[in-house]
C-alpha cells in the first residue's frame, strides 16, 4: 500500500501538470484569436480572387490554348497531394484526423492505379503518413521557423508546386487541410488546386456587365498566366491560415480537457490521501487506548 509521502508526491506532480496544461490552453487561446482574425481578414481576397478566376475561365471556356494550370494536362495519372497539418502535437485528434483523411485518399488513388506523390506542410502528418507511404513522400515543409504565417510562406510553397508542374512531375494537385469551422470542429477538406477549373464554385458565374464586353489588358492568356499562379498561392495561403486556426482551436480544447482531467485527478487523490491519513490516525489511537487499558 502506498505511503502518505507517495500520495503527496503524486498530488504535487499532477498539480504541476495541470499548471502546464492550463498555461498551454491560455497560449493557444491567445494564438487562436489572432489566427482567427487572420483567416477572416484573408477571406475577402480569396473570395475576390476566385471570382476573378471564375470570370476568366468562363471567358476561356472551350477555347484552345487555355493554360494547363486551368484546364489540366488532360491526364490524371500522377497525383500530388499537399497535406497540411500542425508542426506540434498536443492538440487532440487534429493531426491524426487529417492524416487519416489523407490516408483514405491515398489508398483510393493507389487502388485506382494512380501514382501518388505527397508533399507535407507541417511535420506531424508527415510522421504519421511516413510510416506507410515513405516511398511516396517528396518533401516536408516545416512551418516551425515561421512565427507568423504570411503570404510569402504560401508563395514559396506554390512556387515549388509550380516548378514541379512545369517539369511535368504530376497531373493533378490536391490540397488536404483542416477547414476551421469552429473552435471544437475542424473539418478535413480536400480541394483540387490544379487544374483550377475543377475547384471553381458553381456560383462563380460571369458578372452582370450591362451588355458590355470585358476588355483584357494584356489579353486573357497573358492575364491568366499571372493570375493562376497567384490564385494557387492564395488558395494555399488561405488553407494554411485555416490550418493554424484549426490547430490552435484543437489545442485549446485538448488542453482544456486535460486541465479538467487533472483537476478531477487531484480531487480523487486528495480524497484517498485524507482517508488514508485518517485511518492511520485511528489505528494509532486504537493502539494507544489499547495500550492504556492493558496497564
Amino acid at each position: 500500500m502506498a505511503s502518505l509521502k507517495e500520495f503527496r508526491d503524486r498530488i504535487d506532480s499532477v498539480k504541476s501538470i495541470q499548471k502546464i496544461t492550463k498555461a498551454m490552453q491560455m497560449v493557444a487561446a491567445a494564438k487562436l484569436r489572432r489566427a482567427q482574425e487572420a483567416v477572416e481578414a484573408a477571406r475577402p481576397y480569396a473570395a475576390r480572387m476566385s471570382a476573378v478566376v471564375g470570370n476568366l475561365s468562363v471567358a476561356m471556356d472551350g477555347r484552345p490554348g487555355a493554360p494547363e494550370l486551368l484546364v489540366g494536362t488532360g491526364k490524371s495519372d500522377t497525383h500530388l497531394l499537399v497535406v497540411a497539418s500542425a508542426d506540434r502535437g498536443l492538440c487532440g485528434g487534429f493531426n491524426s484526423q487529417i492524416a487519416r483523411h489523407a490516408r483514405v485518399e491515398i489508398s483510393r488513388l493507389l487502388g485506382e492505379g494512380k501514382t501518388v506523390k505527397i508533399l507535407c506542410v507541417g511535420g506531424k502528418a508527415a510522421d504519421q503518413l511516413g510510416r506507410i507511404h515513405s516511398d511516396n513522400m517528396l518533401d516536408v515543409i516545416s512551418l516551425r521557423e515561421h512565427k507568423n504565417i504570411d503570404s510569402t510562406v504560401a508563395a514559396d510553397i506554390s512556387t515549388k508546386i509550380l516548378t514541379m508542374f512545369e517539369a511535368g512531375e504530376f497531373d493533378i494537385c490536391t490540397l488536404i487541410f483542416s477547414r476551421f469551422k469552429s473552435v471544437i470542429s475542424q473539418v478535413p477538406t480536400t480541394q483540387i488546386l490544379i487544374p483550377a477549373m475543377q475547384s471553381l464554385d458553381e456560383a462563380a458565374s460571369a458578372p452582370d456587365l450591362g451588355g458590355a464586353a470585358y476588355d483584357y489588358e494584356p489579353d486573357e492568356e497573358g492575364i491568366l498566366k499571372v493570375l493562376l499562379p497567384r490564385n494557387l498561392a492564395t488558395q494555399i495561403f488561405q488553407a494554411l491560415l485555416e490550418n493554424v486556426a484549426g490547430e490552435m482551436g484543437a489545442k485549446m480544447s485538448a488542453m482544456d480537457n486535460s486541465t479538467r482531467n487533472a483537476g478531477e485527478m487531484i480531487e480523487k487523490l486528495s480524497l484517498q490521501y485524507n482517508r488514508k491519513r485518517q485511518s492511520m490516525i485511528t489505528t494509532e489511537l486504537i493502539e494507544i487506548i489499547a495500550g492504556a487499558e492493558a496497564v
Binding site: 475577402p44 481576397y45 476573378v52 452582370d208 464586353a213 476588355d215 489588358e217 498561392a233
Partner: protein, 134 residues
Amino acid sequence: MMTARLQFSLVSPERELFSGEVDGVDVPGEEGDFGVLPNHAPVMTTIRMGAISIKDGAETRRMFLRGGFADVTPAGLIILAEAAVDLATLDAAKVAKDLRNTEEDLADAKSDDARRKLQDRLGYLQALQNAMMN
C-alpha cells in the same frame, strides 16, 4: 446625369485595406496608367509596381502597390494587390534606412536564392522611395 460614385475596394492577401465609395482612382496598369471613374467599361488588367491615387472630393490618398490585378466592372473597381502600403503612413527616413540595409545585405549575400530575394526587395524599396518623392 446622376452623381455616380465609384465603389472601390483594395484587398491584399492579408487583409482588406480599403472599401468604400470614391470619386475616382488612378491605377498604374501593366500597359500604362489609367484612371477609373464611375461607370467605367469593364476591363481586367495586371498592375505593375507603383502608386495608386484614390481621389475623394478634395482629398487624394496614395497607396503603393507591389503588383496585382485590377478588375473594373460597372459595379466598381476591385484591386487585388500582392502587397500594399499607405504612403501617408510611411517614414521617408525609415525607408531610406531599409534601402541601405538591403544594399548591404545584398553585398554580403551568399546564395543565389538569397541574392534574388534581396534584389527583389531592393527594387521594391527603390520604387517605393521614388513614389514617395512625387
